[in-house]
């Protein structure tokens, strides 16, 4: 399993999630870590990822995660480097990160809407009215 972290110094709304890897990757997840409370929230998971399909998962407007400033976006990805993975070109190979198909990647494309504090609070208030907070 590999991990990547990113945080913004301003609030954002996450609009889509497209995990990406190569032949050995088989799962991905997205979590938000809130440093103020120590809580981690799972917001997306793909357990049967395949390099043959690259999906950009578009969040419904009312479900798009609202991420406060300083919260940490955690990307986790899993790989099957065994001979049991039919896509694995060589189970004996020591695999590094890289751009070639035989290398691996821990990568995701995220569509982000950058918000100011006022816009963030407005969107949160709308969610509360919709009973989704």
């Amino acid at each position: 399993m590999t991990q990547g972290f990113h945080s913004f110094d301003h609030p954002v709304r996450l609009d889509s999630f497209q995990p990406h890897g190569h032949l050995r990757m088989n799962a991905a997840s997205l979590e938000i870590f809130y440093p103020q409370t120590g809580r981690t929230e799972a917001i997306s998971q793909v357990s049967n990822w395949s390099a043959t399909w690259h999906h950009s998962h578009l969040y419904a407007p009312e479900a798009a995660p609202l991420i406060p400033a300083g919260a940490v976006i955690i990307l986790k990805q899993w790989y099957d480097n065994t001979a049991a993975n039919p896509n694995n070109p060589d189970p004996d190979m020591f695999v590094m990160g890289g751009s070639r198909t035989g290398d691996e990647m821990t990568h995701a494309w995220l569509a982000i809407t950058h918000l100011d504090d006022e816009g963030f609070e407005q969107l949160k208030a709308q969610r509360t009215i919709m009973g989704d907070d």
């Binding site: 999906h55 998962h57 578009l58 479900a63």
Partner: protein, 125 residues
């Protein structure tokens, strides 16, 4: 009392008719809408899929292949876990109910009662 029995019998017949009607329109009311919503984005003329769900004959001909593809979860190609399915507008996955509706329909011989068979409508309905 016999009047009551008669009313009950009539009521029973109406219920039976309703039941029959629902079953008769299974394809139009339940099956085709799933195919339109979950498959025709790609399975259409000019789409990226290798065959188009262009009318009910094609859908019937491919019914066993449709069952094989969905039961093996090769299709639809969405990968998001069911827990997060409802947060994603283009999840391209089937719910358990949708899966059961399609498989039961194929197992029943892929009947298309209720659909418009009068002409080549370029529609699966």
């Amino acid at each position: 009392m016999s009047r009551l029995n008669s009313a009950a019998a009539t009521f029973g017949i109406i219920i039976l008719m309703l039941g029959f009607r629902a079953e008769a329109n299974e394809y139009v009311d339940k099956v085709a809408p799933i195919l339109i919503e979950q498959c025709q984005m790609c399975h259409r003329e000019g789409g990226i899929a290798p065959w188009a769900m262009s009318n009910y004959q094609v859908v019937q001909a491919f019914a066993p292949a449709i069952k094989e593809a969905i039961v093996s979860r090769r299709m639809p190609p969405g990968q998001i876990n069911p827990k997060y399915r409802d947060t994603i507008i283009n999840h391209r996955t089937l719910s358990d109910d949708e899966m059961k509706t399609l498989v039961d329909w194929v197992d029943a011989g892929a009947p298309v009662e209720g659909c418009n068979r009068s002409s080549n409508t370029n529609s699966i309905l």
